[in-house]
């Protein structure tokens, strides 16, 4: 599914964010990327959804080199990727339903079909009664579930999540992780950047450790589920 070959990212003459990263992730894997602040977790994810261009090396997703893409190609790539952010990034003037539906609408799905899909997902994630609520009236856990629904609405094969449990309490974090594991079980590949050791211990099947932009360990762990 994902192959990273000799990947480096240099921001300035003295700032190497990533150095010669090599890894392969197969379809259906749940992979944690961990390491201290500034280790390069965020940069690696940014390179995977092409917010950043690598300085050296290649990234292949389903055999396609994504390091040389036009803006149209980048848009096409992102339609196959679901993104989940630590701070949810929901639009405050839209309802939960519209936040989810917007992601489908912008790639050409009709308004009715987008809203249908959004409703089904929110219902599945236990937010059936909160469809018309604006994000600021939702709890952190609810907001993150809306964000997950948005990431899933276009049925992506790859989910990238940055500290998805960073802004929520432990109990809700457990629920969110449970949801992500379910999504993985349906066949999606999931990469989660986190430094929450507890979560990694409990749900981790594979852990990639970064430090100062260098891949220091790639551990396959026994799942704690």
């Amino acid at each position: 599914m994902i192959q990273v070959l000799h990947l480096s990212k240099i921001y300035g003459p003295n700032r190497r964010a990533l150095t010669d990263i090599n890894l392969a992730i197969v379809k259906g894997e749940l992979v944690f990327i961990s390491g201290p602040s500034g280790a390069g977790k965020s940069t690696l994810l940014k390179l995977l959804f092409r917010e950043e261009e690598p300085s050296e090396g290649q990234i292949l997703i389903d055999g396609h080199n994504i390091t040389r893409l036009s803006s149209r190609g980048v848009a096409q790539l992102r339609r196959k990727i679901g993104l989940i952010f630590q701070e949810f990034r929901l639009l405050p003037h839209l309802t939960a339903l519209d936040n989810v539906a917007l992601a489908a609408q912008v790639i050409g799905v009709s308004k009715r079909e987008s809203r249908n899909r959004a409703y089904q997902l929110l219902r599945e994630l236990g937010l059936k009664e909160r469809c018309d609520a604006k994000p600021l009236t939702l709890s952190g856990g609810e907001q993150q579930r809306v964000a997950i629904a948005r990431a899933l609405v276009n049925e992506p094969t790859l989910l990238l999540a940055d500290e998805p449990t960073g802004n929520i309490d432990k109990e809700t974090a457990g629920e969110i992780m449970g949801l992500l594991v379910k999504i993985r079980d349906r066949g999606a590949t999931i990469l989660i950047a986190t430094h929450d050791r507890q979560i990694i211990r409990r749900y981790g099947t594979r852990l990639i450790l970064l430090d100062h932009g260098v891949l220091v360990d790639d551990l396959a762990q026994a799942s704690g589920r």
Partner: protein, 307 residues
């Protein structure tokens, strides 16, 4: 762009007009001001050209005859003049007719002529030029040929005035493009600021659209559409203001007739000028937005994403 996206674009435009109402009003007003200035110069040019055409229609050469010419000599001269290819008409004005005309022109003051000999004014021939020959070079050559005739004392024609007016029309034409160009550029900067404001007001939404795979065209479309609407509203307002100004001048023709008398009847912009003004507004809005967007989107990426 897919049909299903058109509704989304229009909804975004509607939201932007509601949220940034006064910014959009200001931009449309600036466009209207620019287009009004441009249109006012077009209107002035149209009327000066109309005036020039009217003068051209009346363009005549006056050949003053030598004193003491006998009637057969005058007839022969008239025949020679009428045979000239550039001449449309020729009319002989005798001493007596010239006297009468002058008396009529003086009106109540005609008593001033009392005591003067009746043949003090020279006889002349008024020569009207064919429209296709109303060219400075041809008229000058014709005047020279007439001057060479032994029966003609002197030749006069208002070419100098026509040339001056032609220069004024040319100047107004240039001023229209120069001032229009400067205002066009100034308006582009205003459009740029509006796009910048609209883009920052929708920064979060645009970022999320980019992250979920919206195409560049879809992200840019609402801004370009807003620009087009602003441009068309600006053109409409400027045309309404020009029409208002034109009607006001028409209504006050009798009171300010002294200044406008040479124009006779004022002319409004021709349909192709109106189309030019509307097209300029449309172009100013849409191209201005597109140009600004390309500049901002090139330099602005969704870098606030916390990945």
């Amino acid at each position: 762009m897919k049909i299903s996206l058109v509704g989304l674009v229009f909804r975004q435009v509607g939201t932007s007009f509601r949220h940034l109402f006064w910014t959009h009003v200001l931009t449309a007003a600036t466009m209207a001001l620019t287009l009004f200035s441009f249109g006012a110069f077009m209107l002035l040019q149209t009327n000066l050209e109309y005036l020039l055409k009217g003068w051209g229609d009346q363009l005549q050469i006056t050949a003053y005859l030598n004193n003491g010419l006998a009637e057969p000599q005058v007839d022969a001269l008239m025949q020679r003049i009428r045979a000239m290819p550039e001449v449309a008409r020729a009319r002989h004005i005798s001493h007596a007719e010239a006297w009468r005309d002058f008396q009529t022109a003086l009106g109540a003051q005609s008593g001033l002529l009392d005591g003067l000999p009746r043949d003090v004014l020279p006889a002349s021939i008024e020569i009207t030029i064919k429209p296709e020959n109303r060219d400075e070079k041809i008229i000058t050559q014709l005047a020279a040929r007439l001057s060479d005739d032994n029966d003609i004392a002197s030749v006069e024609y208002p070419q100098e005035w026509v040339e001056r007016l032609e220069l004024v029309v040319l100047g107004v034409g240039w001023a229209k493009w120069i001032l229009g160009g400067v205002l066009f550029l100034a308006t582009l900067f205003i459009v740029r600021s509006t796009v910048k404001l609209a883009l920052f007001a929708r920064k979060e939404e645009v970022e999320i659209m980019q992250l979920v795979g919206a195409s560049e065209e879809l992200i840019q479309a609402p801004f370009v559409l807003e620009g087009m609407i602003q441009g068309l509203i600006g053109a409409g307002v400027s045309l309404a203001a020009l029409w208002g100004g034109y009607s006001l001048l028409q209504d006050h023709m009798p009171t300010i007739g002294f200044f406008l008398a040479p124009f006779g009847q004022l002319q409004f912009l021709a349909p192709h000028h109106i189309a030019l003004l509307v097209a300029t507004g449309w172009l100013l809005g849409s191209a201005g937005s597109l140009f600004s967007l390309r500049r901002f989107i090139k330099t602005w990426h969704p870098s606030s994403a916390k990945f």
